[in-house]
Symmetry: C2
Subunit: 356 residues, 2 copies
Amino acid sequence: MSKFAWVTLTTNDTYSLGALVLAHSLKRAKTAHQLAVLVTPNVSQAMRDRLKEVYNVVQEVNVLDSQDAANLALLSRPELGVTFTKLHCWRLVQFEKCVFLDADTLVLQNCDELFEREELSAAPDVSWPDCFNSGVFVFKPSVDTFAQITEFAVKNGSFDGGDQGLLNQFFADWSTADIKKHLPFVYNVTAYASYCYLPAFKQFRDKIKILHFAGKLKPWLIQFNSETKVASVSSEYAHAQDLIQLWWNIFCENVIQSLSTEMQTPGNVASDRPAGEMAQGSTTLEAGLAGALSQLRIGQQRTPEQEAYENQMRRQCWESGQIDYTGADSFENIWKKISQTLERKTDKESEETGSS
Amino acid sequence: MSKFAWVTLTTNDTYSLGALVLAHSLKRAKTAHQLAVLVTPNVSQAMRDRLKEVYNVVQEVNVLDSQDAANLALLSRPELGVTFTKLHCWRLVQFEKCVFLDADTLVLQNCDELFEREELSAAPDVSWPDCFNSGVFVFKPSVDTFAQITEFAVKNGSFDGGDQGLLNQFFADWSTADIKKHLPFVYNVTAYASYCYLPAFKQFRDKIKILHFAGKLKPWLIQFNSETKVASVSSEYAHAQDLIQLWWNIFCENVIQSLSTEMQTPGNVASDRPAGEMAQGSTTLEAGLAGALSQLRIGQQRTPEQEAYENQMRRQCWESGQIDYTGADSFENIWKKISQTLERKTDKESEETGSS
């Protein structure tokens, strides 16, 4: 068994969709190493069961319930809640070395050579390239390092309020000390920023190993036609259409079958989560996408009602990602209507087949 | 006399405004080194005279008229015309080492330590940070290097059609070989991209040494009120308002007095320039800004007509920068009207004072 692991983090069932696709992308790329996922308390049991099918380790992280230094730190700096969740990857000391991947990344080619790099190796951030982007980084699990970063965070905070600012402050010599700790950008290509310099994207696209859907537009929020299985991207993403399509291909081939309405739906996402768990820009609407997507019938002709539902679902999720709640009621109404329709259909089928 | 020089390039009188402000920003930062500017044939004699007042060397570059290797190369790849213009900086062999600065950069602090770096040192590009941005780079003038790059360009072209793609292909190991050749980002901060990661901009802003107005929105196209001397920036640039204002402060204190209508005005910019000289996205309207700005009366109360003129001038230049020519006629009409008004005013003053 490899002593190396890929590690990701999910804070709700929707982000878990990303984690599931990510895991399958790693397996398609034939990684030789283990997979671990950190989950926060509000990831449903049904989703954890699915994650266990592809991840060797599914580790709950509950900073707020713990009695350790991280919890004490949070008492004085509650705004760092989500940041601290990600830091818990350093506690996976059953592994010698790990590569952290955000759940909104997609592995396109085998990247096992990343484990030859030392802590802390990462690729530059596109907006301020003397900072590394914390969506992909090589690290060495260590309880000592975890304690040091925690202590540092309490003392210094994070200049951007998140893990990226904190980790850049802690590993402050990244930009000047060692070129080997600069991962080539092809290990963390920001889908959106590459639009700003298309010639470079075209020049290097065959070398891209990991695509990162940083920002608001996640692949699971992109318009997808369940009948034709085609994702429709806006013009800013046209250059990366085939890569976004790849995310949905993996979703259709490996993920959707395992989803169920036991997962979070727009109706059953707890809205009273502690502030520390409001991670990754999630809202109750967006967080319920896993349960909603479980209702899709991939490759089958859609009724006009289903088509309208899919369009509305994606639009609503996108709007909620933009923190625009204006259409929330409308979305919930549609969800209710679809649920009623499905129930009626099931009742009707039961009558026809005579099953109970 | 220093054997080191700052080098820039201007291809018309409008970009020369940038070159003039840049030179004064270097002098304000008390550089110990020389200043050199490459000018293409269509920079007016009046503007060259002004450039000579602040630059130690004003060197005409006329690739198309020369009989050298660069010209031969251009015959086979005419699309590289502008690219080749910039490469001529390697021929400034009277200097031991140089730092190239695009004319749309602004030096905020003394940066003489850059001359301790070796060729080719540059800062990462924000859109594809494994490429360096060619707006600021340290190089060693050499006729041999010039010939090698020229030969390389003819053989390989440029992946982005410009000097940045070409230089990144030629100095291909920049991203992996030597961290010392990675200039800190503070030596080439892209004004626009920093908006995407404001916490980093705020965290490092006191350390910014060179600001780069890369992209379409140049400081000379930003709305400026000649009466209050205040530049009005859009929300994307609000974080950098004081830095854009600094550009205009230098313009008002050191540059505008030396402008004249002998420089290019919207009416007298040659539109039949060879393709190789259509550099830096210039249009005849935008290229005539120097002559137009010479008419401003800084710090004086504006007539409503002057105010309308200033607003219209900037808007038209901005639109022409966007390659939107729809308002061109309207702008030229306004220019004519203002010219007529100024002529009438001059005639009237002549009558009043009795001067000829």
